[in-house]
Amino acid sequence: MLKIEGLTAEVEGKPILKGIDLEVPDGEIHAIMGPNGSGKSTLSYVLAGRDGYEVTGGTAHFNGVDLLGLEPEERAAIGVFLAFQYPVELPGVGNANFLRTALNAQRRARGEGELDAMQFLKAARARLKELQMSEEMLKRGVNVGFSGGEKKRNEVLQMALLRPKLAILDETDSGLDIDALKIVADGVNALRAPEFSSLVITHYQRLLDYIVPDRVHVLMAGRIVKSGGPELAKELEATGYASVQAAA
């Protein structure tokens, strides 16, 4: 379970998160919605441990572990996965090599045995098949020359292989056509399990038609101003964020 209490953070001296309280119990998927500039991406980066996102107060625990005290790779090893809004290109680094290196680094950190090339390939092929992706995906450089949709699919493939316990999706739906959106949603839904939880950050309600959240939170100006069930998303779609702002 992810438990965030009174979390404040700033970027380049400017306060962005102004006191976030949030609990995501095991097995649940929560959506965070909000207008641009409300702090959605900052929240995901703070949870993943990116440099430059300074925590100024509050706590964030995952299964009792103080997340904020860990290096990014240590957070990854205990199961925190961030699907990037803008996946990064790594020229010359093969996707298969990258994925295997990442998977084995996590396994090593957890004291599990590493996968050899054949074991990895077998696992990767199985995930590709589930996600209806081509094996070509493994042979290409990491995100190099990928279309926007392909980059997002690659994020989902990585997530499927790394099997995180907490997946944070940072506007993974942006720029996706409906088919790609379904693939992303299928990827998340396939991971649904009692010990898996997810934080789906999105600007639009659209993705939530395919990933039905247990709870929806509205983030505005660095605070969660409203929480509710899946129906809250539909409500926002109809009335817009302005109405929430007025109410808050």
Binding site: D51, G52, P72, E73, A76, V88, G92, N97, A102, A105
Partner: protein, 499 residues
Amino acid sequence: MPAVAETLDTVQSVTEGTYKWGFSTDIEMDFAPKGLNEDIVRFISAKKNEPQWLLDWRLKAYATWLKMDEPTWPSVKYPKIDFQDAYYYAAPKVKSGPKSLDEVDPELLKTYAKLGIPLKEQAILAGVEGAGDSPSEGGRMPIAVDAVFDSVSVATSYKARLAKDGIIFCAISEAVHEYPELVRQYLGSVVPQGDNYYAALNSAVFTDGSFVYIPKGVRCPMELSTYFRINAKSTGQFERTLIIADEGAVVSYLEGCTAPMRDENQLHAAVVELVAMDDAQIKYSTVQNWYPGDAEGRGGIYNFVTKRAQCRGARSKVSWTQVETGSAITWKYPSCVLLGDDSVGEFYSVAITNNHQQADTGTKMIHVGKRTTSTIVSKGISAGKGQNTYRGLVRVAPSASGARNHTQCDSLLIGDQCGAHTVPYIENRNMTAKVEHEATTSRIAEDQLFYCRQRGLSEEDAVGLIVNGFCREVLKELPMEFAVEAQKLLQISLEGSVG
């Protein structure tokens, strides 16, 4: 940015006290007196029992050297070298020329063990007699090793197997006695005695090196490999290597170098000459990880090397691949003179400079024959306070109709105190020639590091992965076994995971 700062710390902590191969071997040395003069040249020649023609050749080189000035055009800085303050000859004492490994000083073999040679090659070294019979073991290409310890070649393996095909692979000092006609015909024919300051010095005082001759139509059945090692304190190392591929011959040659830690700078001025006749192919691969000096820039090897190939024959091909991670200063331009029509020259290079390392390296492609083609791929990586210069010349002579060149020159910067410089010279005197040059400069971006770390990679592994990705085009040119070592070396040179 803390992540970047940490990378810098990591990068800067690499060398001091961590140079993995910093040990020295206690073997009785046979020194020439310190300093350089005509008598020293005569001493070296006499020690090697050389014929008169070679002594005369050396003396001519020495006389030429005296009249030359040390080059100042490379963008490297170092205190003036006192050529009188070094030894020019140091040989491990051996009863007579070693005929088998049993006669090789066990200390020396221990040194190779520490160097990591045993992983593959020492097994081969150990089984000199029987090992040569099978052309491959476990599907891998066997490697013949000619080990150069300081100045004298002490162990050569696989000779019997190579001799079957008429291939000569031996120390050049041995070749002078065994194959004088070949040596006399080709020595200095690619790099003349007066070619440049350091080539002239080398010609005067060279001590040993490798000699390879591949006869007509023979494809060398194994990779030929030499390990160089500078061991004696303050001993200049002057290697001389000569490789000749006769018509239709094919050979791949690997040069690996490590040197133990020294406080004083050590001068290394090698000369490598390659000759390719009609339809011959030579692939020359180097992995150089000599001591780069400590974090403050003290010590380290001065690597002033002249490497040149002549593609004399039609359709001949020479390919240079180098991974340069060591040395305090590298000054090196493996070049191809493309004389034969349709001949091909290639240069693939990775050069890393970290801490105070300086590298001024590149290539020269001289197009003379018709439809000659050359490819240059250079990857420079600068970290710490390292300075990395690519200096290249593409010259197309009026005779080289239809010549083509493509140059790609990429620089990667790690941190904000290093430098990358690109100095390409293009001289085209033929209207039908095509010359292309591409250059890029980039940094390891913070978002790339974070992306990797979010997936579970440590910062060190992330840098290693990104750098290896950056160098991929060059690393794939290396023979398989070498490529794996080179990848590790890139990681080691940048990440402080040594020892």
